[in-house]
């Protein structure tokens, strides 16, 4: 019926078509603006609801209260940052501080509003200048055998060791409940600190606490890379002969020798066994990827392409592959190859991609990507994660200013990166987020760049 009517009156179709076209025109910019969307592949399995009770002070030492406050805060933050727990807010938790297994009433915790499946509690005291801490983890829903974990810590009393004890207890809980993946509360992040005109290498705990300088070279040092055993720090430093790879021993607290080479030598990367270093060197004129021993001997080139080849990174799972940035087609793109330089494969299909970081399980590569690079193209540099086998990617940061230098945490659940809200280098901060792009928060103030998460 209706089709017949419209065919009979062709003039009425024109305004309808025009209206439809204008509607489409209106829709196009909004479609373009939202070219990303959040997908969820999880099956909806809930995370473990965990309550961390305030620990019970069991000594009258005046130091107990401040240290216990540090401990409680650090423990709660570590468990929150782990990203695998649904933490019971402190305001929801019962206002009790059970200090021992016989003092806890599990029903109090398993009932609403706490509704906790697990409770971490214990006692904390300072005696004779030592912190003595008993920590327990109880299954609130198992009245018969509730105990999951019991730990005792005895450390010298200090603010730092109170935090370390909390980190260690949190790592135990995460290891036990997180499927055997070790926690990251005791890991470190090495980064570049802008100090005046110089850049020095600094280090901090994973949560941004305890920030301190590592090098005092009075020059420009960039791209710190910590060795897998946490004993050495490789970085690139501007010296008399341009940028050279430098090596700093964290055990000796001094620089150790690394042979200099001609040209610009930047972006070192450790192999997961700690025996090799890959870096970019332009000693032959063109920046290429070179691989040498950890001491710098036996350097040999593994790429020979026109255009720069920089920022190598090993596959931490196997050590048999390298991802790097090559500019052979103009703008830099992410490539992967075998460790001997064969089997080259291009990963990104365009734009401006840089600073790859391979995830600890070897499945993903995080990198900074400006997909619409060039004059007149609105695009920002953001952090992306790509699955290596399928080359499917997701975007993790949005509309927060240029982001660069992603680095995976050793548990593969977090990514740390550098972000500058207004694009100025002096305002760059180090941020952390979960590997799905949630729970972003800044770790440092402005002037921190190029983070590198330690291997363990």
């Amino acid at each position: 019926m209706s089709t017949v009517r419209t065919s009979n009156r062709p003039r009425t179709r024109l305004p309808i078509l025009l209206a439809a076209a204008s509607l489409l025109m209106l829709c196009v910019p909004s479609l373009r603006a939202q070219d990303w969307f959040k997908t969820e592949t999880s099956s909806g399995a809930p995370t473990i609801r965990l309550a961390a009770a305030d620990f019970k002070p069991v000594s009258s030492d005046p130091q107990t209260a401040p240290f216990k406050h540090t401990f409680d805060t650090t423990l709660f933050n570590d468990l929150t940052n782990a990203g695998i727990f649904d933490m019971v807010s402190k305001s929801m938790a019962p206002q009790v501080t059970p200090g021992a297994p016989n003092e806890i009433n599990l029903q109090q915790w398993s009932a609403a509003p706490a509704s906790a499946a697990m409770v971490a509690f214990g006692s904390f005291s300072v005696q004779n200048g030592r912190i003595i801490c008993n920590g327990y983890l109880f299954d609130a829903k198992n009245a018969q055998y509730p105990q999951v974990l019991a730990k005792q810590y005895n450390e010298v009393a200090s603010e730092d060791s109170a935090r370390q004890v909390a980190h260690r207890f949190a790592d135990e809980i995460i290891f036990r409940l997180g499927g055997g993946v070790a926690g990251i509360a005791e890991t470190k992040i090495y980064y570049v600190k802008l100090a005046g005109g110089n850049k020095e290498i600094w280090a901090m705990d994973y949560d941004g606490a305890n920030q301190h300088a590592v090098t005092h070279l009075g020059t420009i040092s960039i791209s710190p890379r910590i060795s897998p055993d946490n004993s050495r720090l490789a970085f690139s430093s501007l010296g008399k002969h341009g940028f050279q790879i430098r090596m700093y021993s964290l055990l000796l607290n001094r620089a150790v020798s690394f042979p200099e080479a001609g040209g610009t030598n930047v972006s070192p990367a450790w192999s997961p066994d700690g025996n090799h270093i890959a870096y970019s060197s332009s000693r032959t004129g063109d920046p290429e990827i070179w691989v040498s021993d950890a001491s710098g001997g036996g350097a040999h080139r593994i790429t020979s392409f026109r255009g720069p080849d920089v920022s190598p990174v090993y596959n931490p799972k196997t050590g048999a592959q390298l991802a790097w940035v090559s500019g052979r087609t103009g703008l830099p793109q992410i490539y992967i190859m075998d460790a001997d330089g064969s089997g080259v494969q291009r990963m990104t299909d365009g734009g401006y991609a840089s600073s790859p970081s391979w995830s600890p399980n070897g499945q993903y590569i995080a990198f900074a990507w400006n997909r619409k690079y060039g004059p007149g193209a609105p695009g920002g540099q953001d952090i992306y994660v790509m699955e290596v086998s399928t080359k499917r990617w997701i975007q993790l940061t949005h509309d927060s200013g240029p982001c660069d230098f992603p680095s995976w945490s050793p548990d593969g659940r977090h990514i740390v990166y550098a972000n500058s809200a207004d694009g100025r280098a002096a305002h760059t901060r180090i941020w952390t987020m979960l590997a799905d792009g949630t729970q972003k928060h800044a770790l440092t103030g402005p002037g921190a760049d190029m983070p590198n998460w330690s291997w363990k």
Binding site: T41, S42, S43, G44, A45, P46, T47, I48, A117, M118, D139, K141, N142, A143, Q144, Y145, V148, F175, R176, L177, G178, G179, G180, V181, N361
Partner: protein, 289 residues
């Protein structure tokens, strides 16, 4: 004379006849000599004598004039009898093979003999130190008392409560954990029931980890709706699943394979709190959203 003797080979056989012939030849030679050279013999003899005299004088005089003034070889008293000779070993021959003095076989030096300690004689035990066993007294025997027999009649059992008591006692933990998912339910039970009761949290972690790795969109939503698949797998001491097999097929191959893949995706559940392996039964219930 010789030539004449050789010219008569028969002379040896007849010595009497040859004596007369020799005399005849000699007279013949004597005769011919006298006739030809008798006048020149004197002057030639003198000349020969003078020439020989001069030659002898020249030899003797030369020997005297050019005699050596140094002492003759080997007559010096100090070096007499000590003749210097160069040894063959000092010739610049190629170096001999390196001699290892450290090795027992290559070294020429005798290796030190092992220290042999003198055997010590153990002093005889002090007699007073040896305890003299005392005879233990046997325990006093006591006659066994007979225990009274229990009463024959059966004790009445208290009646079982017909309703489940809630709130009064803690519920008994069943070694099974069930998680509701968006697309169904995942439940896990451990075949070792004491493990499941004692470490219920671990069973929960197994359930949760597998459920998080179950990509429900892999299963065909129409064919799998309302179906249930049950897997059985082992977890070793390190918490790594292995030996995955399908216990009960659901009838939907996509649901079966998605369930198997969910377990295969898991790298580990964390080390077992007890024992070296457990066997887990895992059920997926698919319900269309």
């Amino acid at each position: 004379m010789q030539s004449s003797r050789l010219a008569s080979p028969t002379s040896a056989s007849s010595p009497s006849r040859s004596k007369s012939e020799d005399a005849a030849i000699a007279t013949q030679l004597q005769y011919s000599r006298d006739t030809r050279t008798d006048d020149k013999l004197g002057s030639n003899l003198v000349g020969s004598l003078v020439l020989h005299g001069i030659a002898a004088a020249l030899i003797l005089g030369g020997a005297y004039l050019f005699r050596s003034h140094r002492p003759p070889w080997g007559e010096n008293a100090s070096t007499a009898g000590a003749i210097q000779a160069t040894m063959v070993s000092s010739l610049p021959l190629p170096p001999r093979q390196r001699q290892l003095d450290t090795g027992v076989l290559t070294s020429e030096a005798p290796s030190p003999a092992p220290l042999i300690e003198k055997e010590k004689t153990t002093p005889p035990p002090d007699l007073k130190e040896v305890p003299i066993p005392t005879k233990a007294k046997p325990p006093k025997k006591v006659a066994q008392k007979e225990t009274p027999q229990p009463p024959k009649h059966i004790q009445p059992t208290p009646p079982q409560p017909k309703k489940a008591a809630t709130g009064e006692t803690a519920g008994i933990r069943v070694a099974e954990s069930t998680i509701p998912l968006r697309n169904g339910t995942a439940s896990v039970s451990v075949q070792d029931r004491t493990f499941g009761a004692r470490f219920a949290y671990y069973v929960n972690i197994v359930n949760r980890t597998v459920a998080q790795n179950w990509y429900t969109q892999e299963a065909d939503p129409v064919a799998s709706n309302g179906k249930r698949v049950t897997l059985v797998f082992d977890i070793n001491r390190e918490g790594v699943p292995s030996n995955i097999r399908i216990e009960t097929r659901s009838g939907s191959p996509t649901l079966d394979s998605s369930a198997v893949r969910a377990v295969q995706r898991v790298e580990g559940f964390g080390p077992l709190p007890q024992g070296d392996h457990i066997t887990v039964e895992y059920s997926f219930d698919y319900r269309r959203q």
